[in-house]
């Protein structure tokens, strides 16, 4: 699939999304779809760093929440419109990404993961104590009527379709470019990559920044979705786990992996929430995770590849 082909598919998906928004289908579709697509963005963004470069970021909630709280700040201070929120949420999270990029200078492997986790805790404490954005009490957003669309559900869904397509296209482009090959080399062996002429630091900074940007983008519309944001749910550990689990289930080395993982696991979680509706939901996630990493270590895409090679 050439880049132009991918663009066509991307535009087609967006078209489908808009079409779905235009159709008067059940509004629940938009809400559930929003969450699944949000996970497509998160998983894909995480995978740029975790899958391509091999740096496991445990601090996904920090980036997501930073996107959400940047939005809240801008709404509260300037009544900024949604597109501005998304760009700014992404940029602020990208800055944090750049910061953790410099951490990779000294920290590898699990140390890096733990540092990102610690960062998340510190950031959460900051937000808890920052009354302007609601602090520990949380922030209630009163939504005006949805502009251009007939409801916020449709608007947010359509927006997420666009964001997901853009994120996936960007990730795919990177994966197939010299940057992607360089990242793969440094994931396999950083020292050897550097000695083969790969500017590892610059590539890592690029990956952490870009990954942070899209994680922030995923969080930026969140206040409009829930209308009530408080630190413990914005910094929910689930984001860290899902960001990691979805690409693992789908496969981490290609752009398709996180998309498949996010759609499968995200949909499964949505369905479980409204059907099984008990602890079993979480249990399923746990069992699926364990089974997958044990039985299909390269994820679904890896499994398919292996079957095809036979």
């Amino acid at each position: 699939m050439k880049t132009r082909g991918a663009l066509v598919v991307g535009v087609a998906v967006i078209g489908l999304g808009v079409l779905l928004g235009g159709l008067r289908v059940n509004p629940y579709v938009y809400f559930a779809g929003y969450v699944v697509l949000q996970y497509v963005v998160i998983a894909t963004a995480w995978n740029v760093l975790g899958g391509y470069a091999g740096y496991v970021n445990f601090g996904t909630p920090a980036f997501f929440a930073l996107g959400a709280y940047t939005s809240i700040f801008l709404i509260e201070a300037f009544k900024a419109p949604l597109p501005v929120l998304i760009v700014c949420g992404g940029l602020v999270a990208a800055l944090l990404g750049l910061g953790i990029g410099y951490l990779t200078l000294r920290l590898k492997g699990v140390f890096f993961s733990i540092a990102t986790f610690a960062l998340s805790v510190v950031l959460q404490t900051l937000i808890i104590n920052w009354e302007y954005v609601g602090g520990a009490k949380g922030y209630t957003l009163i939504r005006p009527p949805a502009p251009f669309f007939r409801s916020w559900g449709v608007l947010l869904f359509t927006l997420m379709v666009v964001l997901a397509v853009v994120t996936v296209l960007v990730a795919r482009t990177i994966e197939r470019s010299w940057i992607g090959r360089g990242l793969a080399a440094l994931r396999d062996n950083e020292e050897a990559a550097e000695c083969m002429g790969v500017p590892t630091l610059r590539l890592k900074l690029f990956a952490t920044t870009l990954s942070g940007f899209f994680l922030g983008v995923a969080g930026a519309p969140f206040p409009y979705y829930v209308t009530y944001v408080e630190p413990s749910s914005a910094f929910d550990l689930n984001y860290a786990v899902n960001a990691l689990a979805m690409p693992m289930i789908g496969g981490t080395t290609t752009w398709l992996g996180p998309v498949i993982g996010a759609v499968l696991l995200g949909t499964a979680q949505q369905v479980a929430t409204v059907t099984i509706s008990s602890e079993l939901n979480l249990l399923i996630v746990g069992v699926v995770l364990v089974l997958f990493v044990v039985l299909a270590p390269e994820g679904i895409t890896g499994l398919v590849r292996r079957l095809r090679r036979r």
Binding site: R106, F111, A118, V121, V122, G286, P297
Partner: protein, 290 residues
């Protein structure tokens, strides 16, 4: 608002807390520090230990810490079993780090959910003679509820470091982390040694779970509060250094306690993790890194 008395009390409370943190972190120090197994589910095993203590306490009136000790063989077996699965699924294939992490995350969920299915989501507490009592040593009050876990934590640290330095298996565990070839020449099977070490790590969770429920009420999801702390301590102490783990535990305990007493507790957790971030940036190998 500062008095020397308050400072002394804060430091003592921090040391007590640190002793307990050491107990919770020891297992991770062993499994993560020495075996390089990122057992993120360790706090979940701790909670499992806490529930064991709760069940024995509420149905037979057994002392929680005694239960913790009694259950160690069971937890050892559990740990050994988990390691076997981990080994054959990941380590042998040489792809442990990332997938292993997800494996343990899954395990953490399974334990949490299994507990809440069986025992519900109510806060669980235990009763013991020493809970709620304290002694006063020259103006410094010491609560038994914290003193007992601290002492047990120190004993556990001591026992573990003696085990590692004085026994054949202990030295073999230390060897596993450094030179597997030499280990084979010694006639020890690294997988067997690692199984034993992992089993001990989880056995420690049994005991530290009992300590945890002595200190504060427990629900199945309490483990999440400890994931960060435990790994912070292990990393801060320097991987694989039992003494370092103890020192790091006490540093964290005292930092939290001092913040809480003198400046307001709101920032205590952030300060702990700030210390960790700083330590990682300045000295990635931790305070007593190998």
């Amino acid at each position: 608002m500062f008095t020397w008395d308050l400072l002394a009390n804060a430091v003592v409370a921090g040391i007590l807390l640190g002793g307990f943190y050491a107990a919770v972190s020891l297992g991770v120090s062993l499994t993560f520090g020495l075996l390089d197994v990122v057992n993120i589910a360790h706090p979940a095993f701790v909670i499992l230990g806490a529930y064991a203590a709760y069940v024995m306490n509420s149905s037979f009136g057994l002392d929680p810490i005694l239960t913790g000790v009694l259950f160690t063989p069971l937890f050892y077996a559990l740990g050994a079993g988990v390691y076997r699965i981990y080994y054959s699924s990941f380590e042998r294939r040489g792809e442990e780090s990332l997938r292993g992490l997800v494996f343990f995350f899954g395990l953490l969920f399974i334990i949490e959910v299994a507990l809440s299915l069986k025992y519900g989501v109510d806060y669980r507490l235990v009763e013991a003679a020493y809970i709620g009592k304290s002694i006063d040593l020259g103006g410094v009050g010491i609560a038994f509820r914290l003193l007992v876990p601290c002492v047990v934590g120190l004993l556990m640290t001591l026992a573990l470091s003696l085990f590692l330095s004085r026994t054949f298996y202990g030295r073999a565990v230390m060897g596993v982390s450094q030179d597997q070839v030499a280990l084979r020449l010694m006639g020890a099977n690294p997988v067997r040694i690692k199984t034993i070490a992992f089993g001990i790590g989880i056995a420690a969770a049994s005991l530290s779970g009992a300590l945890l429920i002595t200190i504060s009420p427990v629900v199945p999801s309490t483990d999440r509060d400890y994931i960060g702390r435990v790994f912070a301590i292990t990393v801060l102490g320097g991987l694989g250094s039992v003494g370092g783990t103890l020192v790091a535990s006490i540093i964290l305990g005292v930092a939290e306690s001092l913040m809480a007493t003198l400046f307001g507790p709101s920032w205590s957790l952030a300060v702990s993790f700030g210390i960790l971030l700083l330590a990682l940036a300045v000295r990635p190998a931790g305070l007593f890194g190998r």
